[in-house]
Symmetry: none
DNA sequence: TATGAATGAGAGTTCATTCAT
DNA sequence: TATGAATGAACTCTCATTCAT
């Protein structure tokens, strides 16, 4: 009854030939359902969204939904999976944690990550909308998965910090994992702020403050 | 249809005489309903909680609920109001932003605030549980109110920072409002972490990292 | 999850005062639902009957049904219970197995029982309709209960036979329990026949044949 | 809308040439569908069995079903037809009603019939399972067909009795048709008993009692 | 011809809300 | 004033049937 053995036909490495046209169409529709569900959940919330809404939006009969997913509950897992994959893909491309060798390079790298994150989330704010507002509190299991995403983010950040410590441009006694958690908190805070405040200048200001806090701290000297 | 003209008999300044005993009893029951709703919402979530659950828990008929509140929707407003008041009360008591005159005193103050916050949220984790997991995504209006709470927190934090800048122990060019937002993010991140991780030592570690980041920054020198 | 602890407010011995009027009305409605369900199930069958049919027939909202029974499945148990009680009441009244002391009296008693049975089932053929046609094959558990009714009937008949053996007007080596089973079979066969053939004379003919078979056997001499 | 013009390619007298191979294959599959439907209906009941179950069990697409039968409803007719044919075949082979010339031969014949019946129904209890539990109450029309089977059984039994009367070893004034109905009732009662009670000795006991009742009656002398 | 993807009528069930008592 | 019986809109899910491939 565990929902997590989800990715039968997941994201990466699909070297398998597109197979028959029927199978391709099936996979397509399946994906379309996930995408539409994502939109509905993000905009109206999980509870306010009925299967009929998703199906109607897509222009399919609502019975069809159940040919692809056996549950309303099941689909949000797939939606979340997709989002996680999307985010990781967006972040992971060009910013390996070992790319920075000096504090200045580190600063530049942080800038790039900030821009990338902002990009994703301004491009489609529904991503954050769903993850932060509508995916919470549905289920213990789903909550655990969200925690897992958080852990991933923490680990990612910690990787950058660890590298900085190794390279010597970050404090040697830095508690990297806890600091990473704090940083993730700031980032998510920034994302929430971006959700309310569409003004890019304002967002840039907050990004700046976060970077500054992260790099220099608030101490005067 | 706006829900916000809520506070007929709100939090502060209830100088109005206790009036008749009947009226007092009524106010009491009203409060009990709010408290019970808080517990139910926090534990099972808003959607999974029925009016009948709240009433049953309290031992009143569920029709009675509608003599005190006209909506299921309405009550969560009051629950949130109560929580906000509780948190502000807990924070505001002894820690005026102007209490710190030096960096050391500031550091000490931050410690006290951290302890106070931890206190509230470890004492009754349902507070955070509700605010962060179950109050989100119910409603646009409620979301706006949560944003309002966030703003309050930001403003509070900004007050401390402004004071520090004025006193000269914080950087003069500090962007206090954006930095405050970043700090609030860290705090909430910490709270979320506390929710999953009941080990007090771990929480203390994260608190420490947050304080350190806030005061010293991550830079080596 | 066993359905059988059914009779909270069952059939016999209701010495408990009718209590409040509200409670009486509630019990009444409950009974009306059972009766209406009986009618619907008997006429259209269990599967073809929707909760909405029962409620509509009764003129209540279909949500109301669920205030009295938690399941569609649950109500047929109560319907069957009621029928069993009705039948037993109808049979048991005046025909104790020890009422017959001679073969002639036995013959007369059998006549009376036959008449009583015919009475019940001609009065409301839906009873047999439901038990024989629509209650079968719904559920393993329900099937077991029907078997139980059959056993009761067998035991009842066996009682009469045992008494006859004791009194000496029936064969001493009679296998009373198996013969009772055979007799029950004949009776049920007769009931089925009555269901199709409303002509009372025809039914009387079959009754006669059954009695004759039972008392004299088919042997010429 | 009458379902009864069923037997396009029925049971008996299929002298029609086997025609093309394709046609033969078609008839085969058609029969396989009927057989599989029989198994499913008998085991899970008509309502609990989906077309997809039958098709899946057989390994064909469930769309294919509709190339052979136009209805879910239609197929049970064919299933019943098949069963009737099977039973009649099993009974009719060697036990012509005119085979018995004396009471002793009659007794022996009854034994043989009892054995044959038991044989059929113990060999595949699903036959009785379906006929007695799952075919009832589906439809008025189907009920009529079951009644027809019953009539056949009655007529068959009546034939034996008539013959006995003619031969003079049965009572001259015997109401053969009604007695036959009673006998059929006993037989069906016995079958039901066999369904619950797999112990062969118990079944033999009941068979014995039925035969005794039939031949000697319960009268002491 | 065989298939299974698509469909939607319709089922059972829940629960916020009303209102007579 | 407090109650809980009554309600029905709304929801999730099933499955017999159709039809393009």
């Amino acid at each position: 009854m565990t929902h997590h053995s989800v990715c039968d036909d997941c994201i990466i490495g699909k070297v398998t030939k597109p197979s028959t046209r029927a199978e391709r169409r099936k996979a397509e529709l399946r994906q379309e359902i996930i995408d539409t569900a994502f939109v509905c959940f993000a905009e109206k919330g999980y509870h306010a969204t009925g299967i009929a809404d998703i199906a109607g939006q897509l222009g399919i009969g609502h019975g069809t939904f159940y040919r692809y997913f056996s549950n309303k509950r099941e689909i949000i897992d797939h939606v979340i999976d997709d989002l996680a994959a999307r985010i990781i893909a967006a972040l992971g491309t060009e910013n390996a944690p070992d790319a920075a060798a000096t504090l200045d390079e580190y600063r530049a790298q942080i800038d790039r990550i900030g821009v990338a994150l902002t990009e994703i989330l301004l491009t489609d704010r529904r991503v954050a909308q769903l993850l932060l507002f509508h995916a919470t509190g549905i289920d213990d299991e789903l909550t655990q998965r969200l925690y897992g995403l958080l852990d991933t983010a923490d680990a990612l950040t910690a990787g950058y910090l660890d590298h900085g410590v190794e390279q010597g441009y970050l404090r040697a006694d830095l508690d990297t994992s806890n600091t990473a958690r704090a940083v993730t908190g700031m980032l998510i805070g920034g994302i929430v702020y971006s959700l309310r405040e569409p003004d890019e200048a304002a967002i840039a200001g907050l990004n700046q403050a976060i970077r500054r806090l992260l790099v220099d701290g608030v101490r005067k000297d």
